[in-house]
């Protein structure tokens, strides 16, 4: 191995080392000494995260690309490692989440140390560490073999984490489905690398970059990569594993999966199509754009129908991946049709949304975890009024909701705004079809945004506002400071990335330089205050002003309205003069989404049942009314179930070979022999 001192790789290795240590330490965390997990493991995880941030940050700021290799792997193929701005960016993302969960985890995992949900702790720590390790080294990989090894390792450890509480059948099934799709996806990715390797004459990424592909093979390679990585990223219709796997995992793991793991799919798509294959084609962009739009819309529509908080969040991951893909797709379209600068804009928008989603989705999952930790409830319709019991959690969750609903001045809005701006540059395109497609995609993105807002009004409103619907929820307490710290970190970052977009975009310069040899000078030309992606005349946005104005309004409100007036009197809610309110009168999440369910009917397979129980008597009165509603995922019913059935049917048919009758067996070999003899003579 070459000397790595004075390069970001040093930090990267440090991060890997810390991760390994974290795993090693948690091996000691037997039932009697849980401290090794709570403190030891997460302690090292913290430093691992910090080191990855340092490594990534250094690469980004210093615009470095450092390579290294170890004499491992195959005799003729060392392990090639490399850190460049792209991987650095994702390392930062990963490290941030690692730091957040290392603050959050120690308290959260106490739940597994004792009590009803007690589990053996070492697996949790070990596989969390290996999970992070897989992602870190996968980002550092510079040849197909290392990449695949750690890609699969990530998936595998993810499996062990999802199945961690394996006494629940739901966990087992979800984990199985997850691992199956991950495995198949990985094999498809392997094919994509196979094509590149076959043309490039080698497995290292450098050889692949050098490969001269015919359009057909390039497209095939891209298609494989897109399918494979898309499975991991959770794009429609390959997303079915996601809403099952994320909810059942421990919440800090869900945050890690939704925040970091599925982003690795995005990393893969960017790495392969922009970096390895190189010249992207607008046809690919069109496909990506369409799939992205579908994912975002369907993702949010399915999210609206969920009343399991974590499942709702999982579907929102599908939606946000869709938004990221839209950005990528437009970028590909622009690059493919020769508009470098606009392509760069799309790419920046996509990457920006990637890190944003990592932050706020991590935050939201941690928040959901906090609620779960105190109330052991995931069902919205059993929550309510938590803002009084867990004010800080509520506040942080609210920030996350605002961010994910793409509302200013938070980060989610900035990236969506950039995506809109990219779409609005469509007139620059020659191809009329694309020119129409993009704005329509943008309109659907707007629809998505509005629906997302609706969904989070529901999520936050039903869970945290109103009156508690169950006793457990009514008795909830605020979570320990460590968990709040983890969430607070992410929330702060959400705000910062929303308020100072120009700085972030400037930092992303090296990435686009690396991938498309182009940066966005215009975006930051007007200084940190003004974000002007194309030019000040075309569009501009100044988040700091917005925040300032908000502060001013509050200040004035306090000065002129609140000060000196009598304190507000607390009375019964008026409610148009109806009588005493009970918590049963509140809107439930199911009720809340009813109008939308009615408007967009047909997107879901809905089974609605109303059971009424009439009392006996001359005039039968309804004494008991039971309403139940199930929504099913079409893509599951239409794509996966048939395939599963097909395989099982085939397996059922194939049984005839093993009749158990020796004569049949003898006949088999006899016939085989005769056939072969026939063939050769």
């Amino acid at each position: 191995m070459s000397a790595t001192f004075g390069t970001p790789l040093l930090f990267a290795y440090a991060a890997v080392l810390c991760t390994l240590l974290s795993g090693a330490v948690s091996l000691l965390a037997v039932r009697s000494r849980p401290g090794f997990l709570h403190f030891g493991s997460f302690f090292f995880l913290f430093f691992s995260g910090a080191a990855s941030i340092a490594a990534g940050g250094w690469t980004l700021l210093a615009k470095l690309t450092v390579t290294d290799h170890f004499a491992l792997g195959l005799p003729w193929l060392d392990w090639h490692l490399r850190i460049d701005p792209l991987s650095g960016f994702f390392l930062v993302l990963l490290g941030t989440l690692a730091v957040a969960i290392s603050l959050y985890g120690p308290s959260y995992t106490r739940e597994f140390a004792r009590g009803p949900a007690a589990q053996p702790l070492p697996p949790l720590g070990v596989f969390t560490a290996l999970f992070v390790l897989g992602m870190q080294l996968m980002l550092l990989a510079d040849d197909a073999l290392v990449f695949m090894i750690f890609w699969e390792m990530m998936s595998l450890c993810g499996y062990f984490l999802v199945v961690y509480q394996h006494q629940h059948a739901a966990n087992r099934q979800a984990a199985f489905l997850y691992l199956l799709l991950a495995h198949v996806g990985a094999l498809v990715i392997l094919l994509s690398f196979g094509v590149l390797a076959a043309f490039g004459g080698g497995l290292t990424f450098d050889q692949m970059r050098a490969a001269k592909l015919t359009p057909l093979w390039a497209t095939l390679s891209f298609a494989c990569a897109f399918l494979g990585f898309g499975t991991k990223a959770g794009m429609v219709p390959l997303h079915v594993w996601l809403p099952d796997a994320h909810p059942v995992a421990p919440s800090h793991i869900s945050a890690m999966m939704s925040g970091a793991m599925i982003k690795m799919g995005i990393y893969g798509i960017v790495r392969v199509s922009f970096d390895l294959i190189g010249d992207v084609r607008w046809e690919w962009g069109m496909v990506v754009l369409i799939i992205g739009t579908a994912s975002s819309l369907l993702g949010v529509l399915y999210a609206l129908m969920q009343h399991d908080l974590k499942r709702l969040l999982a579907y929102h991951s599908v939606e946000n991946i869709g938004i990221i893909l839209m950005g990528l797709g437009m970028s590909m379209i622009f690059l493919g049709s020769g508009h470098k600068m606009l392509g760069t804009l799309g790419l920046v928008a996509a990457l920006y949304h990637t890190i944003n989603h990592a932050l706020f989705k991590g935050l939201l999952f941690l928040g959901a975890g906090a609620v779960l930790y105190r109330t052991h409830e995931r069902d919205l319709d059993h929550m309510g009024g938590l803002i009084h019991r867990m004010p800080v959690t509520a506040f942080l969750f609210l920030l996350g909701s605002v961010a994910i609903s793409a509302l200013p001045p938070f980060n989610g809005f900035v990236s969506e705004w950039l995506t809109f701006q990219t779409a609005l540059q469509a007139p620059a395109l020659e191809n009329g079809l694309l020119r129409t497609m993009m704005p329509i995609a943008a309109a659907l993105l707007a629809l998505t945004g509005a629906l997302a807002a609706a969904c989070f009004v529901k999520a936050f409103g039903i869970a945290f506002l109103g009156k508690p619907r169950t006793r457990r929820v009514a008795r909830a307490r605020e979570v320990p400071v460590g968990m709040l710290g983890g969430m607070g970190l992410l929330a702060t970052l959400c705000l910062l990335l929303g308020v100072f977009p120009t700085t972030v975009i400037e930092a992303m310069g090296p990435i686009t330089q690396l991938l498309v040899h182009e940066a966005l000078p215009s975006a930051t030309a007007q200084g940190w205050l003004w974000l002007t992606p194309v030019s000040p005349q075309v569009a501009s946005y100044s988040a700091p002003f917005v925040v300032a104005a908000m502060v001013v309004v509050f200040g004035l409100g306090y000065l002129f309205l609140k000060r000196g007036t009598a304190p507000a009197r607390r009375v019964y809610a008026w409610d148009c003069g109806f009588g005493q309110l009970t918590q049963r009168m509140q809107y439930t999440s199911t009720a809340f989404s009813q109008p939308i369910r009615r408007v967009f009917g047909g997107v879901w397979k809905i089974e609605e049942r109303v059971d009424t129980l009439a009392s006996a008597g001359l005039i039968p009165r309804v004494t008991n009314l039971n309403y139940s509603l199930h929504t099913y995922d079409w893509s599951w019913l239409k794509c996966y179930v048939p395939i599963g059935r097909m395989v099982l049917a085939a397996a059922n048919k194939i049984g005839f070979i093993q009749t158990g009758n020796i004569h049949t067996y003898l006949k088999f070999s006899f016939v085989t022999l005769l056939v072969f003899l026939w063939i050769v003579s």
């Binding site: 099934q173 099952d244 879901w604 019913l637 179930v641 049984g655 093993q658 158990g660 004569h663 003898l666």
Partner: protein
């Protein structure tokens, strides 16, 4: 070259080869146990004779060894063994119903033609007078296999197996004047052991199944086994409130 052109020995060889083939057919059609065993012994004898004749004709003394091996194994030991066993297991009067005997024989004829067709491609290679009999040896082997495929009784299957071996032996003799000695010995040893093991197994089979009808041995059938439960297929339905 026509058979007339051959020497007397060669003619004799071909004659006996034909007879051996004929015995295979008899075995195929023979339903009763004892005659089956005897026919098998006869076949062994014919093959031994052929080896001897070849040895004389081609002045290959080592062929006497293989002839001797054939004789001891295929004519004396194995038939005797089978004979004793079938008496012990008192099935000497067993006779099994062969379905479609004529069809079977026609199939046998087809096999002979097939093996001739197969042998065509290699016959030209052998410089030996006996080369035409390669086809016969292949035929004997395939017929032995056919026998195993159609006969229900374990004994019949063993006989089929053994006659396959004879066919191969015969092929070795007539195509290349036998194999290297060590190989022949090894093969002979294996066959002997195999025969003994077969004997052991007859008893086990009799004990555990009450008969030697291999058609009944299908406890390990998967054909009519139901699939494992569906839930094992890991088919959760997303949409289910889990």
């Amino acid at each position: 070259m026509g058979i007339a052109a051959l020497g007397l020995y060669s003619q004799a060889i071909i004659l006996f080869a034909a007879l051996a083939l004929f015995t295979s057919f008899i075995m195929l059609a023979q339903a009763r146990m004892m005659p089956l065993i005897f026919t098998f012994a006869w076949q062994g004898l014919l093959l031994a004779v052929v080896s001897v004749l070849t040895a004389i004709a081609s002045k290959h003394p080592e062929l006497y060894v293989s002839a001797a091996l054939t004789f001891t194994l295929k004519v004396v030991l194995i038939p005797w063994l089978l004979y004793r066993l079938s008496i012990k297991l008192n099935m000497q009067y067993d006779a099994e119903a062969i379905e479609h005997p004529t069809l079977l024989l026609l199939g046998g004829v087809a096999l002979v033609i097939f093996s001739y067709f197969v042998a065509q491609s290699i016959i030209h290679l052998s410089g030996l007078a006996t080369r035409n009999t390669i086809a016969v040896s292949i035929a004997i082997e395939l017929l032995g296999m056919l026998l195993m495929c159609v006969r229900k009784s374990a004994v019949a299957q063993v006989i089929g197996f053994m006659s396959m071996e004879s066919g191969i032996f015969f092929a070795a003799v007539v195509s290349t004047y036998g194999m290297p000695l060590i190989v022949e010995l090894g093969v002979a040893f294996d066959i002997l052991v195999a025969a003994i093991l077969f004997g052991v197994f007859f008893f086990h089979l009799k004990d555990s199944f009450g008969s030697l009808n291999v058609g009944q041995f299908n406890r390990l059938s998967e054909a009519n086994q139901p699939m494992p439960l569906r839930d094992a297929a890991g088919e959760p339905s997303p949409g289910d409130p889990s």
